[in-house]
């Protein structure tokens, strides 16, 4: 079965990631720690101009690393809890990002609070919003849940457009950046990059520990077959609510950092397309698999910036202006040849092969290639 999948997506990329996967599963604790340390070291030197000249020849690499790349990675790890682990299709994730951002923007500009004590408040408020959204809607499944969450995302944005205390359509400006003794983050891209990097590491550890706990097992069961999970004694509703709660927390955290980073918050920062893009990060990278999701978010955030650099002209148009077109093309090609994502988890693959488990209606969407694989495997 596994070898069948391999040969189907047997392009160079597939073989490489499968190899990595196998090596990782056999790796000893020491080897794994060496990889963690190496990855953190790479992340630490990433802002170096030499790397920047390759990765982002056209511009401000350190800035790009913090935003969009860092923020996307944070959001993707958060959304992965909801979509990748619990299998709940949330199309309104940007709502939590917005609530986090507005919480800090409001408290920082109107109430004169400082950043650090406000962040936990923003996280709690956003998590509560997650429960408020989840409690009435999590009885819905698949497509229905997706539609309701999509609505929630829009409601939050429209409330922001109309709320006078939040500056209505203009938003709130002059949002302070965080300050540490001897370090002002205002317009300090490297400081923001390392702050976000630290938060990413924390969030990854948090998410990883959850995944490998009883909670994570319950989420996996819910994702793969919700009714069966209930029949195993898993309180499915409670655990789905918990997934929304934790996903929202991470979204809120990212939001408050984002508002501090940009020094403003306005409704235009939180369009539906951002929810969709973060979902793309998760699915493109390999839903449910943390390294995949992180890589996915990195690529999705970085690629448009990278493509910006190509100053070739075709018929009087600069190639740069086509960059979103190429970006879309790359996504489409990727999803045709490797629907399970860049770095899928072993489990997610089996779910896709079955053509049912995972991500509500999205499981059905990808049933085509998955079902093919099953039949091929069976006929051998």
């Amino acid at each position: 079965m596994r070898s069948e999948t391999k040969s189907k997506s047997g392009a160079g990329l597939g073989g490489l990631t499968d190899g990595l996967h196998g090596w990782w599963r056999r790796a000893t604790t020491w080897q794994r720690w060496a990889v963690y340390v190496a990855l953190i070291a790479v992340a630490a030197v990433l802002p170096h101009p030499a790397i920047g000249s390759i990765m982002s020849p056209s511009g401000d690499w350190v800035g790009v690393l913090g935003q969009p790349i860092g923020i996307y990675v944070l959001l993707a790890v958060g959304l992965n809890v909801v979509v990748g682990q619990a299998g709940l299709l949330d199309l309104g994730y940007v709502a939590f990002f917005a609530i986090g951002a507005y919480t800090w923007a409001y408290m920082g500009t109107q109430l004169g609070w400082t950043f650090w004590p406000t962040v936990p408040i923003a996280i709690v408020l956003t998590a509560l919003a997650g429960v408020i959204l989840g409690a009435p809607t999590l009885r819905l499944r698949g497509d229905y849940l997706a539609i309701v969450t999509l609505g929630f995302g829009e409601i939050v944005r429209i409330v922001a457009v109309n709320a006078k205390p939040l500056g209505a359509a203009v938003g709130l400006s002059g949002v302070p950046a965080p300050v540490l003794p001897g370090l002002d983050f205002t317009n300090n891209a490297p400081a923001f990059y390392y702050l976000i990097l630290g938060l990413i590491v924390l969030v990854i550890i948090f998410s990883w520990r959850l995944e490998h706990s009883r909670v994570g097992r319950a989420w996996a069961a819910i994702r793969e077959d919700e009714d069966a999970a209930e029949l195993m004694g898993v309180p499915t509703f409670k655990f789905k609510l918990l997934a929304f709660f934790i996903g929202a927390m991470i979204g809120g955290l990212a939001g408050s950092v984002y508002a501090g980073q940009l020094n403003y918050a306005n409704p235009g920062m939180f369009p539906f397309i951002l929810s969709a893009t973060i979902l793309v990060c998760v699915v493109f990278g390999g839903s449910g698999n943390l390294p995949g999701v992180i890589l996915g978010a990195f690529v999705i955030a970085w690629l448009p910036e990278f493509l910006r650099a190509f100053e070739v002209t075709i018929f009087d148009y600069r190639l740069e202006e086509f960059r979103m077109l190429f970006f879309g093309l790359i996504l489409v090609i990727m999803m045709i040849f490797r629907p399970e994502g860049l770095l899928p988890s072993r489990r997610r693959r089996a779910e896709l092969a079955e053509g049912t488990g995972g991500m509500g209606s999205m499981g059905a969407e990808v049933a085509g290639p998955g079902a093919d694989t099953t039949q091929e495997a069976v006929s051998k």
């Binding site: 319950a218 069961a221 209930e230 004694g233 072993r346 779910e351 049912t356 488990g357």
Partner: protein, 267 residues
């Protein structure tokens, strides 16, 4: 009575699926519910295990009214179910699937694991294989084994013969018998009425959300109406004729043991 269902009504939106069903299952019995497609057999099981809410009526289990109890708590009370379409976790290995069966329970699982692997040596061989990549018959075994891991007092089985070759069906039914002999009460829903009636002690016939007959299973095997409706009519063939009945024809896609990995029906 271990399990008693009194006059339950269940609705899907405005459509009544169950219109007053009463069933009783005594400790140690195998009771079967037979009936055609859409009669309400699966809904009855789902209502007992708590996946569907009651509109009215009462379910009593081991002397306790469980009508309002959420599904995940009924598992701890002693109701285990292998759901329709098997409902195994495709991304988990066989072993992980079985461990999920013990999710809600505290304490050791070794004894139950050993018992399940003893009942289904095939599962022991496939311990590390992902559930979703197994054949239909193996998945059915896994679904039953996983339900046994919840240490049920009563085991609810929803169409364990669905989509399986006759030889595998016979094998699964033998195991159900063995499970019952080891002390677990069984409530079996089947379209394969012939085989279900041969296995069960008592049976209920359900039609359009109502119980239309209830009798010892052997009586129903000889009942002319039941024979006509569910056993392919009295064609002068002995009771043990292979499934030439209407239900068997409906389930016509009888597949080879390995050929039906993807015939899973959504619950």
């Amino acid at each position: 009575m271990l399990l008693e269902i009194e006059d339950i009504h269940v609705h899907y939106g405005k459509i009544a699926a169950l219109k007053g069903i009463s069933i009783a299952v005594d400790e140690g019995e195998i009771v079967t519910l037979i009936g055609g497609n859409g009669a309400g057999k699966t809904t009855t099981l789902k209502t007992i295990s708590g996946l569907r809410p009651l509109t009215s009526g009462r379910i009593t289990f081991a002397g306790q009214d469980i009508s309002k109890m959420p599904g995940h708590k009924r598992v701890l009370a002693g109701i285990g179910q292998a759901p329709e379409g098997r409902g195994i976790f495709p991304g988990m290995t066989v072993h992980e699937n079985l461990l999920m069966g013990a999710y809600a329970r505290k304490g050791e699982v070794k004894a139950e694991l050993d018992e399940v692997y003893d009942l289904f040596p095939r599962l022991a061989e496939r311990r590390t294989q992902a559930g979703g990549t197994m054949s239909g018959g193996e998945q059915q075994m896994l679904a039953i084994g996983r339900a046994m891991m919840t240490k049920p007092k009563v085991l609810l089985l929803d169409e364990p013969s669905m989509g399986l070759a006759p030889m595998l069906v016979a094998q699964i039914f033998e195991i159900i018998q063995k499970i019952n002999e080891r002390g677990t009460t069984v409530l079996l829903v089947e379209q394969n009425a012939q085989q279900a009636l041969q296995l069960a002690h008592r049976a209920y016939v359900i039609e359009t959300g109502r119980v239309v007959k209830s009798a010892p299973a052997s009586d129903l095997l000889d009942d002319p109406e039941v024979r006509a409706a569910y056993l392919g009519g009295d064609l002068g063939v002995d009771g043990d004729a292979p499934q030439d009945g209407e239900p068997a024809a409906k389930e016509g896609q009888v597949a080879t043991p390995n050929g039906d990995a993807s015939t899973r029906e959504g619950a």
